[in-house]
């Protein structure tokens, strides 16, 4: 059973296109996240959702928009793709947003996006 799944695993597209990456978790978690990992392996949080509410929105371009139809899904939609968007995008989930306790994150397998 896959805990956090993402589709597609690979995505190759042209500049200017619009694309979406889907994420689903079956862990019953309340919070889901999107991370971007660049070519130097640096991981940066992009968004997180708690009970369908956006609670963290880092300084990412507004071409990126997270969409959560329910708490088990958090999709990432990207408009007008640019070369610099090429990276690996990871989805993750954890238990409720609390300031203490072990709300360990579980990561999906990643989506490698290549913009040509």
């Amino acid at each position: 059973d896959t805990a956090v799944s993402q589709t597609p695993k690979y995505l190759v597209t042209q500049m200017g296109n619009d694309k979406s990456i889907k994420c689903e978790q079956n862990l019953g978690h309340d919070t889901m996240y999107w991370y971007k990992q660049d070519s130097k392996k640096f991981l940066k949080i992009m968004f997180s959702y708690n009970n369908k509410e956006l609670i963290i929105n880092e300084t990412v371009p507004n071409r990126f928009s997270p969409k959560s139809p329910d708490k088990a899904h958090l999709n990432l939609h990207i408009n007008s793709l640019e070369l610099g968007d090429s990276a690996v995008y990871f989805c993750a989930s954890s238990h409720a947003l609390v300031a203490s306790g072990n709300n360990e994150q579980f990561f999906g397998p990643g989506t490698r996006l290549t913009v040509l």
């Binding site: 919070t31 996240y33 991370y35 392996k41 640096f42 991981l43 940066k44 949080i45 997180s48 609670i55 963290i56 990871f90 993750a92 954890s94 947003l97 609390v98 300031a99 203490s100 306790g101 072990n102 709300n103 360990e104 994150q105 579980f106 990561f107 999906g108 397998p109 990643g110």
Partner: protein, 110 residues
Amino acid sequence: ELKVEQNPLFLSMQEGKNYTIYCNYSTTSDRLYWYRQDPGKSLESLFVLLSNGAVKQEGRLMASLDTKARLSTLHITAAVHDLSATYFCAVVVAGNQFYFGTGTSLTVIP
């Protein structure tokens, strides 16, 4: 701006040797995580450190946390080839925001 720095960024060591990876962070936090990432793979949770002085051990890896010094260490004992991977620390601050370190790419040479 919050900074989470790991040292070293790259580490090549021989099997059987010991070494320590350091994770320094610039803000107050009482929770720190260590993750492992194999090439082309996702991140796998290794340790969760929830308080000052916490120490966790699993096999040849041991992690510790000093919240006063804002420092965590990941100690490798008698390294084996299977430990070759990239290791990340992640600091959690208010609002459950995870900030990842720069990563340490470890290569264990037979």
